[in-house]
């Protein structure tokens, strides 16, 4: 890549920082330049987020239809999967999977709900009602 080919496309990076790129100058020597972003990359990030949102919406439907507990919704909302939720809460993975069932969830103790609520940054009430706060 030549230095004047460093992409300068508008991207989510604009809210954050410019990034360093290594590229060659006219004399063929390596130097660094700053990039605003690259469309190819922005698209890859964009479709990943679209997918995450679709999964969250799908989870919301499932919870509404009583096919899953609100934990599934918050898990997807936080881009987590079962191993990550298990690592944060300290429950076993199979326990988390069990808690994804609405019938099991209904009877969970406040102490256990509290653990999930902490991980998802919501109150126990919000967790039960599938009510994400501002985020």
């Amino acid at each position: 890549m030549k230095k004047d080919e460093i992409p300068q496309d508008p991207s989510p990076l604009d809210k954050f920082t410019k990034e360093v790129c290594y590229a060659v100058d006219d004399k063929g020597e390596y130097t660094t330049g700053l990039s605003r972003g690259w469309q190819v990359k922005a698209d890859a990030l964009g479709i990943t987020w679209e997918e995450a949102q679709a999964r969250t919406a799908n989870a919301r439907e499932k919870v509404k239809n009583r096919e899953a507990s609100p934990i599934l919704f918050f898990m997807e909302l936080n881009m987590m999967d079962v191993p990550i939720v298990a690592a944060y809460t300290g429950f076993w993975q199979w326990t988390v999977k069990r808690h994804l069932k609405p019938d099991v969830f209904k009877n969970l103790s406040v102490k256990k709900l509290q653990k999930y609520a902490e991980v998802f940054d919501v109150s126990v009430e919000e967790l039960k009602n599938m009510n994400p706060n501002a985020a």
């Binding site: 660094t32 698209d43 997918e51 990550i84």
Partner: protein
């Protein structure tokens, strides 16, 4: 309290932390490409049956921590590295370091990193930054991928240092223990060691998911993705491949440009004409990686969805694998004496 610490922006977080910490400890010759090359950071792995955020597990970099460890070892710098089970002890240790005037590298998770915009927050636990000061309950942070220094609260730093999941940092903290300058001769030796390690790894490892063989493996898989996953999910997988190689903090084109820069800088220490030639080869390999990303974006944007398009993508990676094999073999065959 704030230490006198110079923040230099880098393309990759661990390179940047290594460079900045070593510079602070008195090794003025170190640059990001040198740290990356001496630490033999160039890598490729595609782990089948493991999924990361629902996509293929591919990495263009060594295990987190390795670049720092290898670079320091090659330069004869002693290092301190600690992980913790107790959050209080982790914080006390960091505070003690700062009180002694020692800036410290920390491994952190990105998900709760408050100064990252939401778009970039994933459950990725191998990010690195340097803490170089503390004012009341706010830490001063030099995050190498950012243009300027930033801050983070005590609570938030604890949260990211104890992020959970794959590669959990467990409060990992590291820094060079000694501070002294290093001779040109030592750097020369480090460069040769780094090149030997990387070229061996990329071409000789007998496991078909590592190094150049790993790239071929990915190429073969890509051709099956449309059939087994459908065009949309196949596209998502490709988007993940592109993000692993191009996203902020990766240096672009799967680190190939940084490596090309390293070979060019290495020439200043080790006068072997081959280095300049191979550096040019890596520049064109980097360009090929970028071209493959453009091809992939056509697929995940939904512009191209035919099997033919996936085949082209796979063939592009096969071509890259061939070129890399030649380049790494040439590196391996350099006569150093």
């Amino acid at each position: 309290m704030q230490l006198n610490f110079q923040h230099i922006q880098a393309a990759h977080c661990e390179n940047g932390v290594t460079t900045n910490l070593l510079k602070h400890s008195g090794i003025h010759q170190i640059t990001e490409p040198l740290a990356f090359g001496i630490g033999a950071g160039i890598f490729y792995i595609h782990i089948p049956f493991l999924k990361i955020s629902g996509g293929p597990a591919i990495s263009f970099r060594t295990m987190p921590g390795q670049i720092f460890t290898r670079t320091c070892r090659a330069l004869g710098v002693k290092i301190e590295r600690k992980t913790f089970t107790s959050k209080e002890k982790a914080q006390r240790f960091l505070d003690d370091c700062l009180a002694k005037g020692q800036p410290a590298g920390c491994q952190v998770g990105v998900y709760h990193l408050t100064y990252f915009p939401k778009e970039f927050r994933f459950h990725f636990n191998a990010h690195n930054l340097v803490v170089y000061g503390k004012e009341n309950d706010t830490y001063m942070v030099s995050d190498p991928v950012m243009e300027t220094v930033t801050t983070i609260s005590e609570h938030d730093l604890e949260r990211v240092r104890f992020a959970k999941g794959a590669l959990a940092p467990n409060g990992q903290i590291y820094f060079p223990k000694t501070s002294e300058s290093v001779s040109e001769e030592r750097i020369k030796k480090g460069i040769i060691k780094g090149i030997k390690h990387a070229s061996w790894f990329m071409t000789e490892t007998p496991v078909p998911i590592l190094g150049v063989a790993g790239i071929r493996f990915t190429a073969g898989r890509i051709k099956t993705w449309r059939e087994s996953l459908g065009a949309r999910r196949g596209g998502l997988y490709l988007a993940q491949l592109v993000r692993m190689g191009e996203e902020i903090g990766t240096g672009g084109a799967g680190f190939r440009f940084v490596y090309a820069a390293f070979l060019q800088q290495a020439y200043a220490f080790v006068k072997r004409d081959e280095l300049l030639d191979i550096s040019e080869q890596f520049t064109s390999i980097g360009d090929l990686w970028r071209a493959s990303s453009v091809q992939a974006s056509g697929i995940y944007k939904g512009r191209m969805t035919k099997q033919q398009d996936f085949n082209v993508m796979g063939d592009m990676l096969l071509n890259i694998a061939d070129k890399e094999k030649i380049a790494f073999k040439a590196l391996q065959n350099i006569k150093w004496k």
